[in-house]
Symmetry: C2
Subunit: 161 residues, 2 copies
DNA sequence: CTTATTTCAGATGAACTGAAATGC
DNA sequence: CGCATTTCAGTTTATCTGAAATAA
C-alpha cells in the first residue's frame, strides 16, 4: 500500500464519453474504487497495530461470529483454503488467535480470538469507526441504511451461483 | 483467486450480537466484502483474456479517460508509481498499451490503448456487463442509481483527507 | 469411496522501499 | 533547488497449484 496519501484522482466520476444510453461507469467499478480507497486508508489506520486490512477483517469476523474453521474463513474471504491457512499461521504466530480441535468433527480446528486479539481489536476500534464515519460523512441516516441494504444484496447475489 | 465458487458464507448479515445501539457491521466491511466477491468473479470472467482485475481496471480507465501518465494511473489506483510502472511494463509486453512522449512535458510518457487493447476490452465487455447486472439483479432502477450516487460520495469523502 | 479440512512444498505475481536519472 | 515522472534493483508478502494426510 502506498505510504503517500493520494491527492488527486483526476475526477473519475466525469461525464460519460458516449451520448447514447450511457449510464456511466458500471457499479462494479465504483465498488472497486471505493474499496481501493478503503484499503489504503484502513492500512494506514492499522499500521500501528501491525496487521493488514485482510487480517483485520478476518479478526473482525471471528469477533462477530465466534469460533470458525479456517475453511469457513476462506469461503468468507473468497480465497483458497491454502491461502487462509497461511494467514492463520501468521495470526497464530502473532498470538492473536488460537485453535482447538472440534470435538464433534475432529478434523476441524476451530479458531478463536486470544485476549491479545481482542485487545488489538479494541485498540483500533475507534479509529476504524472514525474512518467509517468519514467515508459516509455526507450521507444521512436513511441513505446510509439504504447503502448497507443494497450492498448486502449485491454480495448475496454474487455469492450464490 | 479460488477456482471453486464459494458456496456458503455462513450468513455474515446475521443479527448483531449486542443489543444496545448496535448498527450492525460497519459499511466499511460490507464494501470490502462486496469487492472481494467482485474480484473473485471478475478474475474468472477475465481469465480467458489473460488479464487480472486490476489490469482490466487500468485498461478501462484508459478507455474512459484517454491518454494518461503512469503516475496518474497510480494515483487513480492508490498504488505507488513503482508498482504502476511494473503493471505498465506487463501491459506493454502484452501489446495492450503503447506510450508516447508528452510534447508539453517531456518527462512524461502518455499511455494509450493499442488496437489489441481495445479489442480485448470489446471481447470481455458483455461478460463484465453481465456480471454487473447479476450483482445488482435484485435492485430496481431507483435503488441502483442511489447506490451509485452514495458510493461515489464515499469515494470522494475518502480521497480528500 | 467420497468429501471436507488441514497442511506441506514450490512457483509466481504483485506490491513495497530505496536510489537514481531526467525534465520542468 | 524543489518537485514530478520514470525506472532499476532488491525484497517481502500474498496467493496460487499440486499433492498428501486425516477424519467424517
Amino acid at each position: 500500500m502506498p505510504r503517500t496519501a493520494p491527492l488527486d484522482v483526476e475526477s473519475t466520476s466525469g461525464a460519460p464519453k458516449g451520448d447514447h444510453l450511457d449510464t456511466g461507469p458500471l457499479l462494479l467499478y465504483v465498488v472497486k474504487q471505493v474499496e481501493l480507497a478503503v484499503r489504503a486508508n484502513l492500512d494506514e489506520v492499522l499500521k500501528p497495530a501491525d496487521v493488514t486490512a485482510l487480517q483485520y477483517t478476518a479478526l473482525s469476523v471471528l469477533e462477530r461470529r465466534g469460533r470458525l474453521s479456517a475453511a469457513q474463513l476462506a469461503r468468507n474471504s473468497f480465497v483458497t483454503n491454502q491461502s487462509m491457512s497461511d494467514m492463520v499461521r501468521v495470526l497464530t504466530r502473532k498470538g492473536l488467535i488460537s485453535r482447538t480441535r472440534d470435538v464433534t468433527d475432529r478434523k476441524r480446528l476451530l479458531i478463536e480470538l486470544t485476549p491479545a486479539g481482542c485487545r488489538l481489536l479494541d485498540e483500533v476500534r475507534d479509529a476504524v469507526a472514525a474512518l467509517d464515519r468519514r467515508m459516509t460523512g455526507t450521507l444521512n441516516a436513511r441513505q446510509r441504511e439504504a447503502l448497507g441494504r443494497s450492498l448486502n444484496e449485491c454480495r448475496a447475489a454474487l455469492q450464490s451461483p
